[in-house]
């Protein structure tokens, strides 16, 4: 399956489809839900007649279960959903983390809780992405803010899922998923494939040390892999009662992500060094970006990845500015971990512009808030 190369004018969700194809997706399982459905529909089209499989499952639990199964068959797999479906997937997300299965989950966020606002954008699932399943675990999550990033960060989601054997998330929203814009697909995409057991090759996936990310024992190759969500030792021994085994396993799963934050995190800086810095992500960063572009008193740190928390850029920005405004489409979620890092960096004034209801904060709303803070 080849990705189309060149320039296109299309929808965010369609760009995600192209990104998946470009990454070499071989298995997609989905269940219809607004506002992510176009991704399933697009892949149903694009995977037809290729060596990839499109599958419409009976519910979202089945979708994520099927893509985990497919990943153990050795292929790149993905599902796409929105709030209610994302909630259903939580148990299996923990399973993927514990069993170290590379998978990609796209969540085109809509307003919750419950059925909420099916057609409206929100950023209400950012905490659920990291904390939705039970127990301690780490994941990787990206937040696109444009059609181009729907493509680019889908590719990154696949790359990092493969490299770290972890579920990776594309946290989009109804606004970005449905916006139309230009997509430019480069001639040579940088693609990472998982480090497979029994195969050595020069590859990016081999940068991470073996003691943090073990080579992947693809099924059907005689590895006699024992894959389980139960506490297990390195040699696959199942040890649900053993204190040490559990400590070592869960700590490693956490460390392999947290210790590689610098490799994983992506961000964009506009006017660094400004006295006032806005920190935002996804479609709620669009208004702030316009403000920062026009007003030299204001800068922007736009997070392109949310998990693991990009502590380094937040710290750096916070240690150089007087005040921070966090903009997001929820009642304050990323605000708290960002504030924690900012306080550590010595920035005491951290405020929140939160907007729910389905529309990202407009530039004038951002300016209004900044005036209230005495920033402009």
């Amino acid at each position: 399956m080849k990705a189309a190369k060149g320039e296109f004018f299309l929808q965010g969700n369609e760009a995600c489809v192209e990104g998946a194809i470009g990454s070499g997706i071989r298995f997609f399982a989905g269940y219809p839900i607004t506002p992510s459905t176009e991704i399933a529909e697009g892949l149903a089209q694009r995977l037809r007649g290729t060596n990839g499989v499109f599958l419409q499952m009976e519910d979202e639990i089945a979708c994520i279960s099927a893509i985990i199964g497919a990943s153990w068959g050795g292929v790149k797999s993905m599902t796409a959903t929105s709030g209610p479906g994302f909630s259903l997937m939580q148990e299996a997300i923990g399973y993927a983390a514990m069993s170290e299965t590379p998978i990609v989950i796209v969540n085109v966020m809509r307003g919750g809780p419950s059925t909420g606002q099916p057609t409206r954008a929100s950023q209400g699932d950012v905490m659920q992405t990291k904390y939705g399943s039970h127990g301690d675990y780490q994941v990787i999550a990206f937040a696109p803010a444009s059609v181009q990033e729907m493509f680019d960060l889908t590719v990154e989601s696949f790359n990092y899922a493969e490299k770290y054997r972890v579920p990776a998330f594309l946290l989009s929203d109804a606004e970005v998923g449905h916006m139309r814009g230009l997509l430019s697909v480069p001639e040579n995409l940088k693609i990472v494939d998982r480090k497979e057991k029994g195969i050595k090759r020069a590859d990016e996936a081999y940068d991470v040390p073996d003691d943090l990310v073990h080579p992947f024992p693809t099924f059907g190759k005689g590895h006699k892999a024992m894959i389980t969500g139960m506490t297990h030792a390195e040699d696959s021994r199942i040890e649900p009662e053993d204190v040490r085994t559990h400590q070592e396993l869960v700590k490693r799963l956490s460390d392999k992500i947290l210790k590689n934050r610098k490799d994983i995190n992506k961000w964009e800086l506009v006017s660094p060094g400004s006295k006032t810095m806005i920190i935002s992500y996804g479609s709620s960063a669009l208004g702030p970006k316009e403000v920062a572009a026009k007003d030299e008193r204001v800068g922007l740190l736009r997070l392109k990845s949310l998990w693991p928390l990009p502590e380094e850029p937040i710290y750096e920005v916070a240690s150089q500015c007087e005040r921070i405004l966090v903009c997001e489409m929820n009642l304050g979620m990323m605000y708290w971990p960002i504030k924690r890092v900012a306080l550590e960096a010595g920035c005491k004034k951290v405020e929140l512009l939160s907007k729910i209801g389905g529309e990202p904060p407009t530039p004038s709303e951002v300016r209004h808030k900044l005036r209230g803070m005495g920033a402009i």
Binding site: G69, W72, E91, G220, H223
Partner: protein, 269 residues
């Protein structure tokens, strides 16, 4: 192939309680598998959560021990991503029929090529003996201390109605018949379902005046009626209880096109 070439000898004795029917099912499965000379390395075993679902972890091949109820969904993804791999699912009545009911009926309907062995012990064994969707009417469990008011599911009939290519039901008192059906199931293209009524002496028998596994085997023997002898298939044996009967035999053997054929995935290398 010796039985301990098939199973992981280093994990013996297994965790199952004395007299548990799971071990009997394992014997029959090993016999069926080795008689067919199937390549073990090219077969993957998938389980959900429960005592019965632990069996894949004892087999000397790739095992995917998944979440409660979802084994068939995991197996569907695995099989379609690697069509030349043989996929076998081990599951329990709770795993398959309760929490995983939707995946079960849709698995039968989709007819993906896999063999599903359900060990139906009429109880939640692993969690200590709560009623399941197959606990017979009036029987005791920790959650039905005054007797089960509900009526049980007939998993085999359900599989027939939902479209599985092969469906059989036996008990652990029918080891030869069970082995034969497992062989047929393993050779069948499409969704093949074998239900085994099995004894959980510890958490089912003990509360129902059959604490000794042999009492349960005797019960199976006395209540079993061959499907050929049942006049009307679906209705008569609906009520699986002491006064009623356990219908055993092959329920269906047909060749609906399997999902891989329908989507042309078999050509994928």
């Amino acid at each position: 192939m010796d039985i301990f070439d098939f199973y992981r000898k280093d994990r013996w004795p297994h965790v199952f309680c004395p007299g548990c029917g799971n071990g009997t099912v394992m014997n029959c499965f090993y016999r069926a598998f080795s008689a067919l000379n199937l390549p073990l390395d090219r077969t993957a075993f998938v389980g959900g959560i429960g005592c019965s679902s632990r069996i894949p972890l004892y087999i000397s091949s790739d095992a995917l021990h998944t979440t409660h109820g979802r084994a068939i969904a995991f197996a569907t993804g695995l099989k379609l991503s690697k069509p030349d791999l043989k996929v076998v699912v081990f599951t329990g009545d709770g795993d398959l029929g309760a929490i995983g009911g939707n995946h079960f009926i849709n698995g039968c309907r989709r007819n993906v090529d896999m063999t599903v062995i359900c060990i139906n012990n009429n109880i939640y064994g692993m969690t200590g003996g709560q009623a399941s969707i197959t606990t017979p009417h009036d029987f005791q469990s920790t959650t039905t201390p005054y007797g089960n008011r509900e009526y049980p599911f007939d998993l085999a009939e359900l599989a027939v109605a939902a479209g599985a290519n092969y469906v059989a039901r036996w008990t652990t008192r029918h080891v030869h018949e069970l082995t034969k059906s497992m062989k047929t199931a393993l050779q069948k293209k499409g969704f093949a379902f074998v239900e085994v009524i099995s004894q959980c002496p510890v958490n089912f028998g003990r509360r129902n005046k059959m604490a000794d596994p042999t009492q349960m085997l005797e019960w199976f023997k006395e209540s079993s009626v061959r499907r050929e002898k049942v006049r009307t298939a679906a209705v008569d044996h609906f009520d699986l209880n002491m006064a009623g009967q356990i219908t055993v035999g092959e329920f269906v053997d047909r060749n609906r096109e399997c999902y891989e054929e329908l989507i042309g995935v078999e050509k994928h290398g």
